[in-house]
Symmetry: C2
Subunit: 244 residues, 2 copies
Amino acid sequence: MDREGGQAQPVLRRLDALHRLSEAGVAAIKTAVRDKILKAAAGEDLVCEGDRPDSVRLFLSGWAVRYKVLDDGRRQIVNFILPGDTCDAHVYLFSKLDHSVATLTPVVYSELSREAFERLVSSDVSVAEAFCCEMLAASSIQREWAISLGRRDALERVAHVICELYERLRVVGLVDGNTFAFPVTQMDMADATGLSAVHLNRTLQELRGSGYITLKDRSLTIHDFQALSNTAMFNLNYLHLDRK
Amino acid sequence: MDREGGQAQPVLRRLDALHRLSEAGVAAIKTAVRDKILKAAAGEDLVCEGDRPDSVRLFLSGWAVRYKVLDDGRRQIVNFILPGDTCDAHVYLFSKLDHSVATLTPVVYSELSREAFERLVSSDVSVAEAFCCEMLAASSIQREWAISLGRRDALERVAHVICELYERLRVVGLVDGNTFAFPVTQMDMADATGLSAVHLNRTLQELRGSGYITLKDRSLTIHDFQALSNTAMFNLNYLHLDRK
DNA sequence: CGTAATATTGATCATGTTCAACGTCGGTGG
DNA sequence: CCACCGACGTTGAACATGATCAATATTACG
């Protein structure tokens, strides 16, 4: 295990960006994470709409999406789940999940039972507050997606998700220069932005054409973040990564 | 004060629908609510994007909306705030608000300082859990809006919000038969559904034309909930009002 | 009664969808 | 090793949903 937090590192980086963690808190999280580490393959459903939620998941590596499908098959991805993200703190308070979560890549995550999670948050105030911030931040991201879907056009939407993913990945150390792994198919991107696959493809070409990004071999490079974030009207406040 | 909970009644009804409250919890909420009751006129901003959040609000009567505007003026309403709703439990953990809240009607709400709110949630487990459920339910609603905005067409979207508002108002006793007060202008509805005001108007006419609803004088009647909810593909699971 | 906000209508326009075909790449089994 | 297959990406053309613009009711209210 490396000296920066072992497998828990992304979780620690993310939570600490949202809310300063005490030393005791950091230790408690490291211990809790270590307890039950699971893996899943790409393209797997981790949880399904209708399931009874019983545990909390802390994502350590890999990408997943939160999504929902309508009766006639239309699918909407409502969020990306990245390393360091918490999948539904406290959900076990509900009897049924209202959405599904699918992996895009192989993922590694730590699964905490309700008891383990409650023990963790009651062990240290800063930890409880950090998880609270994580919930609030997730809501805020969700709201910003509503803005995009409701009021931004195709080009703005695509530029916006890219900016968001860049910033979120940066916090957990997954951006190298201006380049990061981007294991998302165009169909997934279309379902995330509320566009058709065809139009998404053309929109990506427009962004490539103007030289803002390169996207090739599941790797994305942002050449001009300023321009990209201007076209998206991206403002990172809503990510709340400034830690007060 | 009436024997059903006084001014706190909608809050109690909503929280209790999400998660069973203990008697002590009910009492604690009643007391906390009573402490600082405020009023605001219609069309007022209660909080603005960028403000430092310092208190939690429990809505007792009236309607408000959570919204955000882009630099060029496009506005998206991301949620309606109804009597009984909690406006941002725990937000004071963040340094800046990422959205604004405006009243649609005169509203009455109880304002709890950070200290008062923390005292309240630590006084009783069922209260803490209920507020947790309220946060989770708000997230869930937010996700469902993303589905609507991303993947439902105009008719479906409008039908969907109406179903949602009907169910949410019913829980707090604000539906009389199939009729409820609906103090939302067509422009607001347009900003909530991501449509233009013109197209929203035509969509409403379509719903009226098929006999599903009547909307007149700020009062909405649903004549055929089944048909309305079918056209919206509405499934109330996401509201989590079953209190399991 | 007058004025501003809201609702309604028609006509034109644009963004994005749909459909259908083709290209490309990586893996898999004969 | 190569042929096949499936998933993904790309292209063009026709189409449709909803936006925009502009004018005209209607309503609420001071």
